[in-house]
């Protein structure tokens, strides 16, 4: 009896959480007449898969996709490299000012984006980076507090004896980081890479502020632009929305094991 109620609640709530996705997919596949029908058509008689190709051609979505891909690939590489490097520094050395610096690093997570967005705009404007993809890529090469924190926690679980053995064999700190710790960190790097990929791919406010020229737009910005221009073209907007959702969803399913089990528990417990 109690179990039945529990399952009932879980199934009902899951349906609530999934329904918006399903509804969007159905909307994307409707004909124009199905779209405006009332009561709403829940199950169209013909599925218009060609809506996807048509929608894609209505704006330079290929360009937006290319820009998004450049940003995501280059910034993810930078994030993985820089955050792991810094995390190794904090985890494996004792040096003057280390603990205050690490607390400072954690404190930076509290700073609202709104405070930084105006001066960053001025800074990138002065550098001539507005309307280029650099503001979305370069900062990722300098590490991010949350990722550094996660990776440092992970490194601290790796036995010190491994470092010592390598040092006995003549390895220097760089070699220990690059040859030993980086491979050992792989599960945590998958997690950081996935989170960063999602942030970079999904980002709207950064591109909104730093990019004005349509040829530099990323996919979320391009979709928002499309909605502004063709508010009533609902099936096309729905189709591009589905395409925008797919990469993070697929990546999430692939990396699920690492996100759910390994890191989230340790990230909070410290």
């Amino acid at each position: 009896m109690r179990k039945t109620a529990l399952y009932g609640a879980l199934i009902f709530l899951s349906a609530l959480f999934v329904a918006p996705f399903v509804w969007t997919l159905i909307t994307a596949l409707k004909s124009q007449s199905d779209l405006v029908a009332f009561p709403p058509v829940m199950w169209p008689e013909t599925w218009h898969w060609e809506n996807f190709a048509e929608a894609w051609g209505k704006q330079p979505f290929n360009t937006f996709l290319k820009n998004s891909t450049i940003v995501v690939v280059l910034s993810t590489i930078g994030q993985l490299f820089s955050s792991s490097l810094v995390a190794f520094g904090f985890a494996r050395f004792r040096f003057w000012g280390r603990d205050p610096l690490f607390i400072l690093l954690l404190a930076t997570m509290m700073i609202p984006w709104d405070v930084k967005m105006i001066p960053l705009y001025m800074e990138f404007n002065a550098l001539g980076w507005i309307n280029t993809l650099k503001p979305l890529i370069v900062p990722a090469w300098f590490g991010e507090a949350f990722f550094i924190f996660l990776l440092r926690q992970y490194i601290m679980t790796i036995p010190m004896e491994i470092d010592e053995a390598a040092r006995m064999d003549g390895a220097n700190s760089w070699q220990i980081y690059w040859r030993i710790h980086l491979p050992l960190m792989a599960p945590a790097l998958v997690l950081v890479g996935t989170f960063h990929f999602m942030n970079a791919w999904n980002d709207y406010l950064g591109p909104l502020i730093f990019l004005n020229d349509q040829s530099t737009y990323t996919l979320p910005l391009g979709l928002a632009l499309f909605k502004g221009l063709h508010e009533t073209d609902v099936t096309s907007i729905a189709a591009v929305t589905i395409i925008l959702c797919l990469p993070p969803l697929v990546l999430f399913f692939l990396a699920q094991r690492y996100i759910m089990d390994s890191a989230l528990g340790s990230s909070v417990k410290g």
């Binding site: 709530l13 959480f17 607390i103 609202p112 960053l120 090469w141 300098f142 999904n202 925008l244």
Partner: protein, 314 residues
Amino acid sequence: MTLADQPLSSLGQSRRRRSIAPFLFISPWILGFVFFTLGPLLFSLTMSFYDWPVVGQRDFVGLNNYTTMLSQDPQFWESLAITAKFAAIFVPFNIGLAFLLAVLLNAKVIGSGFFRTIFYLPSVISGVALVMIWTWIYASNFGLLNYFLGLVGVQGPNWLGDPNWSIYAIIFASLWGLGGTMLILLAGLQSIPKELYEAARVSGVPAWAQVWHITLPMLSPMLLFTTITSIISAFQQLTIALLLTKGGPLGSTYFFAMYIYDNAFKYHDMGYAAAMSWVMFVIVLVLSAIVMRSSSAFVYYEGEVKAQAGGNDA
């Protein structure tokens, strides 16, 4: 384990190299901190004392931006009130519903991994996609929500067009993304030793008392953490307001963050916008400090966690 307790290798490296190597390793973050965090913060603080248009003459005006905001700008107070209302409703519901889902998932059920995935899905998509999806759910003519409300005999409001309902539309849409909070609370629930519940059961402690005396105290560090992150994200609410309601109707969702954005990038009044962003920063810091202070009475830390979190407070 505290930072200082971490055993460090002392073998095979000269003192001189040791002194510079760590700084080489952390140098990316140091540089990034200077150029993308500290520098911008100081710059925007400076800007807040200026009349600073994007192009043209900059004039030092002292505290003028701050006094204007507080005494002569009704929109500032209006937007602040809207944001405060949003936070006051969103934060408790976000934590409460995430807790409820986490408790359901923590019960021994077949397929809990599957349900956990489902609840987390909305958290992985772009805010832009979220807005598109909810636009059609809320639409008054062909929208899904009002159709279902109609089936049970309720005449649904014009969610996005009625100033009395628009903020709730944004709150519901935001709550769809509670998966991150839920995962943190679930991880917390799973770390509570089962023996505590068994001992309580053996001594005849009723279920509600177990929640009150075991679950909530053991979960309190995660509840504190998620409350603070929820407050910060509530005050930063911008994407949904910009795209779903554009601040309307009748300014009913003209959030504080959106007013800052408009001042900076629509009216090009960078100094005024910078001053307001600092006001937001201070509000967020004060609220977080209040939550942390008041929590010391009821947040329960185990030894190891205490060392870590105590360090973070400083």
